[in-house]
Each structure stands twice: as structure tokens, then as C-alpha cells.
Symmetry: C2
């Protein structure tokens, strides 16, 4: 099927959690992605909505599918869920394994413009063009290209937000757990943007949700943001949802920010609120 190789398939909540690998032309390496096919996908006579889920720093496509418990809600709503990996794999660029917040498993869902990263670290185009198109073509009997949403966690929350803002209309719904909201002004983001994009801060604005929302003029969109109040990265100002909320309000883009008392940054937190996020997406994608 379109160069896809099945890595694993496990029944869960009546559907199948699958992992495939494929050769990516954008990233010039072999990549894994996960896809959950809910029970409604069987037979293939109904086209279902899709949600892309983007993981955070240090993750692969495995964390979300084994720890969040999302399959229960995807099965209830009849939604296909796709999860890419978080960076190119196995390309061996000098320095790519030196830190947990840059290089391997830290692709930041952008297209690098600086050497030596620019030829492989193209997660933005990989996600929004190559994988997006691949899902629509390879699973064309199951997925409805007109009803695709996106969500993510931490670095992946940033990825979800910039993907929806940079590609108006391509995703109909968006939500984020503990997203990095203004990477140009937090330590993780400054490190990543300096490394992947260089010193030109005008270029940074093209990959920063807080900057992008200020010039968004696509179809109506509500940003659904979630944040644990006991998240140490929130407290250390890596995430800064308030800055994004202020930017949204300044330009009239609807935004919801749920701050969850006592919750931290981990999948324990995500698993508690993943049902609410699926409800939010389903309301839009199944309207």
C-alpha cells in the first residue's frame, strides 16, 4: 500500500492500533507513524474524520498510543487518529544526539533553513504535505479529507498550532495540551529556532503561533488550549499560554484556555482530559 510497511497491529477498543513505516522524501529517511482505525472503519463504506496528534520532546510515535488511552474516545466518536514521529531518524547529523531538546526527537515541526539541518529536518513539510497526502491516498477508503483536525502536546502542541495557522483550511479543528505557545521567547524555542533557522528573527515569526495568529486570515477557527497548573515547564515559562491568549484576543480569534489545578506535564494529565479534547474535535468535525 503506497510503500507502507506494517510494523504492528493490535486490537484495542474494537478497532486497530497500527504502526507503519515508510521512506520519507522530505526527511530522506525511514519514518514510523501510528494510525488508529476505529471499529467504524471496518468495511470501509463510511468516510471518517481524522485527527493528527503531534507528540512532544523525547517522544516517538509510541508514547501517545500506549499511554493516553485516546482509543476509547476515537472508537466512541468514530475518528481515525494519526501520529507521526517527532524528528527524522537515523540520519546522523553532527550534534543531533547531544541534547534531548534539539536534534533527534526534537524536530519542532518546522522546516530548518540552516545547515546542516536543512536537508533532513523538514518536519513541517513532512507533516503538512507528505504525511497528510499519504494518509489521504493510502487510507482513501476510510478517511474524509474534508474533516481533518490536529492536536498535540508540548512541542507537539506548538506543532499543531503552527500547522493550523500556516495552512488555513487544511485542518478544521485544533487543540493543544501544554503547548509551547511563543517559542521565540522561551529557552526551548530560542535554542531550537537558533539551531534550525539561524539568527534572523523575522524567520522565527513564521513558526511561532503567537506571531502567526496575529496575521491569520483563514476560515473561522477556535484554539482550544489546555494547561496543567502544576506543570513545571509552565511555571518556568517555557509554555506561556497567556501570551498566545492575549495575541488571539488582540485580533479576535476565539480561544479557550483551560488551566487544570494540580496537573503536571505528563501523560497522566493528558489521559485525564483527552476525552474533552475528542469531544471538542468531534463537535466540529462531525457537525
Amino acid at each position: 500500500m503506497d510503500g507502507l510497511e506494517l510494523v504492528s497491529s493490535n486490537k484495542i477498543y474494537g478497532g486497530f492500533q497500527k504502526v507503519y513505516s515508510h521512506e520519507s522524501s522530505e526527511l530522506k529517511c525511514k519514518m514510523n507513524f501510528s494510525i488508529y482505525l476505529p471499529p467504524q472503519a471496518e468495511g470501509g463504506d463510511t468516510k471518517l474524520p481524522v485527527i493528527f496528534y503531534l507528540s512532544g520532546l523525547t517522544c516517538t510515535e509510541q508514547n501517545f498510543i500506549s499511554k493516553s488511552g485516546f482509543q476509547r474516545y476515537a472508537a466512541e466518536h468514530g475518528i481515525v487518529v494519526v501520529g507521526p514521529d517527532t524528528s527524522p531518524r537515523g540520519v546522523k547529523i553532527q550534534g543531533d544526539d547531544k541534547s534531548w531538546d534539539f536534534g533527534i526527537s526534537a524536530g519542532f515541526y518546522l522546516d530548518a533553513s540552516k545547515e546542516p539541518w536543512s536537508s533532513n529536518y523538514r518536519m513541517g513539510s513532512y507533516l503538512n504535505k507528505e504525511l497528510y497526502d499519504l494518509i489521504i491516498s493510502a487510507f482513501g477508503n476510510v478517511v474524509d479529507p474534508a474533516r481533518i483536525g490536529i492536536m498535540g502536546h508540548s512541542m507537539g502542541g506548538h506543532g499543531a498550532l503552527i500547522s493550523v495557522l500556516r495552512n488555513p483550511g487544511q485542518y478544521k479543528s485544533v487543540s493543544a495540551f501544554a503547548p509551547i505557545c511563543n517559542p521565540s521567547t522561551c529557552p526551548w524555542g530560542v535554542k531550537a529556532f537558533t539551531g534550525y533557522l539561524g539568527e534572523n528573527k523575522n524567520e522565527w515569526k513564521e513558526w511561532d503561533a503567537t506571531e502567526l495568529v496575529k496575521k491569520y486570515n483563514g476560515p473561522p477557527l477556535t484554539l482550544f488550549l489546555d494547561q496543567g497548573a502544576a506543570d513545571k515547564f509552565y511555571i518556568e515559562k517555557q509554555l506561556q499560554p497567556e501570551i498566545l491568549v492575549e495575541a488571539c484576543r488582540s485580533v479576535g480569534v476565539p480561544v479557550i484556555l483551560n488551566v487544570r489545578d494540580g496537573y503536571d506535564h505528563l501523560y497522566y494529565y493528558i489521559s485525564t482530559f483527552i476525552a474533552e479534547h475528542f469531544d471538542f474535535h468531534a463537535k466540529i468535525l462531525k457537525a
Copy 2:
């Protein structure tokens, strides 16, 4: 608190998933265990039921708490959930790390009688005496000693079944996912029993659920067994629930066996049916 050291605490579904470590006198080493305190535990003025959960081969106390999603159901029912590790840790016995199905993370919830295992590999007494008593004393303001159940997966399903059958009345409810039902006659069990107990097969009978149920004469008990039909270990006859069911029927012990079409041996399977198991235990423990 009684020599307990807090390793981690994370909010999930309104309660807290905690991990503690303590020095075990039975095992002569430091052990971790998990405890989920549901939201109903706050304040400490209601005593709640408890379920012990025993993990399978290769696991620690982490797998179940991060992959099964049980916390949603423990929170809904108001049940405390305790999960021990699967073997002594850090005791360094020759050969303890040579295979994944014997030694480290493969304690089989029994008391070894054969050297060199007999001084540390006492998971039976650790679970049913030391940890059981520790939970009741250290969490005495929260747990109700009269309403304790037990469940487990694979090797841990075996552990749950033998614990309830060897200690009549100590656990009021029992269920098992893909349990090793007749270890005396399957490759995993023969290897473990030979190693921990030696060649005397009369001794094996004391740690084999199928043998123990034939002479059970404790309080009324229903065994709730669950099995994925696509589980390769089931197909290879490591698990053999039908043999246990036959033994139960021969002596009139009520038994339920749910065979789940298409499901395998992993946490994807467990997470799909964990809600049913909590419903089963809650019906008994909250009657």
C-alpha cells in the same frame, strides 16, 4: 510513614498516582510499589475498597499505571489500587538476569524453597503478608481492610489466583487477564517451578491455581477470567484457562471466562476491558 519513601506523585482523574519505595524484610531489598488514591481518598474520612494488581513477566510497577488507563475507573468507583513490583530488585543472584521469564521481573508470586533463590525470592509472603499489612497500616485512614480484591495479568493473573486460593477470605474478589492457569504443565511454569521449587511436584501443586481450586474450601468466590483469542501465548498453551475452568466446574467453584475475539496479550487488550474488571470488583467490594 512506616519507612515509606515517596518516589513520585502525579495527579490523574482527580486523584493521585503515587509510587513509594520501602525496605522489604521478606525480600531483603528495596522495593517500589504503586498506589492510586482516588479523589474520594481526600480528607480521609471514608474508608475505601482496595484492589491489588499484579503485573506480568518483564514488568515493573510502572507498566500498569502508565498503560492501562485504570485510574478513570478507580476514580469512578472510589477504589484504591496497589501494584507491587514483579520480583526482588538488586539482590544479584547468579543467573537472575539470564532470561526474561526467570529471576529478575519473574518472581511468580511464590516463595522459593530452592537455593540460591529461597532467601530473597519470597514474593508470595511479600505480597500476601508484608505489603498487604503495610498498606493497611500505612494507609489505614483511607483503606478498608474488609474490602480488598486482587487482579493481575499473565504471570500476575497466576499470582492473583493463587493468592486468593491460598489465603481464603483475605481477598473478597479476584479477576485475571490472560492468567497462567496451570503453571505445572506449561513451559513458563515448569521452568519457574523447577528453578524456584525444585523437582518435587507435590510442592508445585501449592502454587498452581488449577490444583489449589480443587481443594479450596474458603468463603464463596467467583473467578473472573479474561483471555484474548489472538494472544500468541494462549495459542502456545502457556495460559490454558480451559483447564482451570474445568477444575472449577469439577468442584463447583463459580468461574467466568470471557474470550475476546481478535485481542492479544498486551496492554492494548487490558485497557479495553479494564473497565469491566473494575465493575466486577466494585459489585462485590461495594455490595
